[in-house]
């Protein structure tokens, strides 16, 4: 099966500090549901940033959708970013835009006309249960509602890869289950989903999902549950 993402000996450091990610070797397969777990500071968010092209690795190679992008010129990145939907822990909604405009943003940036935007955005807002809050601005929405707007924005463009960073961190258990339902529904439609979470309940509630565990910036597979486990660390001579 083809890979959405391939990491080859990837390392990342910020500035002159120590490496926050080391020797990452793994592949994400199309249409698979992944959970990314690890203690706080293990490097989950940094790994996700590499995946959604907000950060370049300081070493190693990253291939996304079959293309080597580690050193690709920045003008080459936007088309790939449009194939990825990202749900941030802090939602990252634009406060002065309505829920409708926030969700419509990826379509408009992709060049859709207003006629092409109206229907899909209304449909998406209805899908996340916010049809009646289309004109509301983020500060007037609850945390759960904001999270759903963020998810609607992430999936409106039918991305091939959905990345969610602690999507249930700011919502109650019921909302967390609803959000998980949205992700699994998208996954059933063929979208690759990777969710960073501490929530064991969420992981247990998703049979068939693969687990990626980070410890101190490296991948581990202590439970053996990962069907495409990381390669063993390379021996240094």
């Amino acid at each position: 099966m083809a890979a959405v993402a391939e990491f080859d000996s990837v390392g990342l450091r910020y500035g002159t500090g120590a490496e926050v990610l080391r020797d990452l070797d793994f592949r994400l397969r199309f249409g698979t549901f992944y959970f990314l777990t690890g203690a706080s500071g293990a490097g989950k968010t940094s790994l996700l940033k590499l995946l959604y092209l907000a950060q370049r690795p300081t070493r190693g190679r990253i291939r996304l959708f079959g293309e080597e992008l580690s050193e690709a010129p920045r003008e080459a990145l936007p088309p790939f970013r449009r194939r990825i939907g990202v749900v941030f822990q802090d939602f990252r909604l634009i406060r002065h835009l309505s829920a409708f405009d926030n969700v419509a943003l990826p379509l408009r940036l992709a060049g859709a006309s207003e006629d092409e935007v109206e229907g899909p955005v209304r449909e998406m807002l209805a899908w996340v249960g916010l049809a009646d809050r289309a004109s509301a601005r983020p500060p007037t929405l609850s945390g759960g509602e904001q999270q759903r707007v963020a998810i609607a924005r992430a999936v409106i463009n039918r991305p091939e890869l959905i990345i969610a960073d602690e999507p249930t961190g700011n919502v109650d258990a019921e909302m967390a289950n609803r959000l998980l339902g949205l992700f699994t529904a998208l996954n059933r439609l063929g979208t690759t989903v990777i969710v960073a979470t501490h929530d064991v309940g969420l992981i247990n509630a998703t049979p068939g999902a693969q687990l990626i565990r980070l410890e101190n910036g490296t991948l581990v597979d202590p439970t053996g549950s990962l069907r495409n486990p990381p390669r063993p660390p390379r021996k240094t001579t």
Binding site: Q55, R74, E75, P78, L93, L105, P106, R108, L109, E114
Partner: protein
């Protein structure tokens, strides 16, 4: 290029701030006002220098030291010389009146020798030799002086002033461009979050730049036109004086071509400001991933 000016209402909402909220239009207005006045001054100086230069280009004076005993004969000779178009003797009384400015009443004294002076124009400088030869036959001490040589220091000063005004226009334009760069960077800082979100969703640098350049285009246009209107009012108020100056300098004030140049300056400033803002935003965005 035209798409620089058009942004959909949805795109406009992305920046979410009111126009004319910052100091940019005011700074551009002050720059535009100053640039227009200085440019008008420079153009008027250039016109004055041109008129003066043309007026004296073919004009010469025949000086006869020690008085004009043979003035009438000299005048007839000069007039009949080939290539001479006009020739007029300057009356002695007029010479003394002119000298009075420097010498006071002494200038009217008969003890003061006043040279005889004949002003004449020649079609071709080659005709000067004939004038000189004929004049020497009557008054060997007579000499020909070009008016251009007498007025050269003034023309040189006018030329220098033109250069200074041009330099000031360039400096003020550069200052306006710098103000626009600062405004663009400030706007980028203000909207950093929105830009990050847009980039994350797949916006290109040009899409982000498009939003900012339109806002700066509007600010620069409003500022430039406001400054231009204010400068026009000042120029109109000075019109009476300018007409007087025009009379003195043979009608050299501002012509239709000059007014067209001045009218285009605010638009040129707007275009420059927009282009500079576009470059500044693109460069700043390249620093992000």
């Amino acid at each position: 290029m035209l798409d620089w000016f058009f942004v959909s209402p949805a795109e406009r909402r992305l920046l979410g701030t009111a126009r004319l909220g910052g100091p940019t239009p005011w700074v551009v207005a002050i720059m535009s006002f100053s640039i227009l006045l200085i440019a008008a001054t420079g153009l008027a100086l250039a016109n004055t220098a041109g008129v003066l230069s043309r007026a004296i280009d073919s004009r010469y004076a025949l000086e006869v030291p020690g008085g004009g005993a043979n003035l009438d004969a000299l005048l007839r000779t000069v007039r009949s010389s080939p290539g001479v178009t006009t020739a007029d003797a300057v009356p002695e009384q007029e010479m003394r009146k002119t000298l009075e400015r420097w010498l006071g009443p002494t200038a009217q004294s008969s003890d003061l020798p006043v040279p005889a002076l004949i002003n004449f124009d020649v079609r071709d400088p080659g005709g000067l030799r004939a004038v000189q030869q004929r004049a020497h036959a009557i008054a060997p001490e007579a000499k020909i002086v070009a008016h251009r040589a007498s007025v050269a220091p003034l023309l040189h000063s006018l030329g220098l002033l033109e250069v200074v005004t041009f330099g000031l226009v360039v400096l003020l334009t550069a200052a306006a461009a710098a103000a626009v760069v600062l405004a663009a960077r400030g706007a980028l800082d203000t909207h950093r979050f929105t830009i990050e979100v847009m980039h994350g969703i797949g916006a290109t640098d040009l899409q982000v730049t498009h939003l900012f350049q339109r806002k700066i285009l509007i600010d620069a246009f409003v500022g430039s036109v406001a400054g231009g209107v204010a400068a026009s009012l000042v120029l109109l108020a000075l019109a009476g004086g300018a007409a007087f100056a025009g009379d003195l300098s043979g009608g050299a004030t501002l012509g239709l071509r000059d007014f067209m140049i001045l009218a285009l300056l605010p638009f040129a400033l707007t275009g420059l400001a927009t282009w500079v803002a576009r470059m500044a935003v693109l460069r700043a965005l390249r620093e992000a991933l």
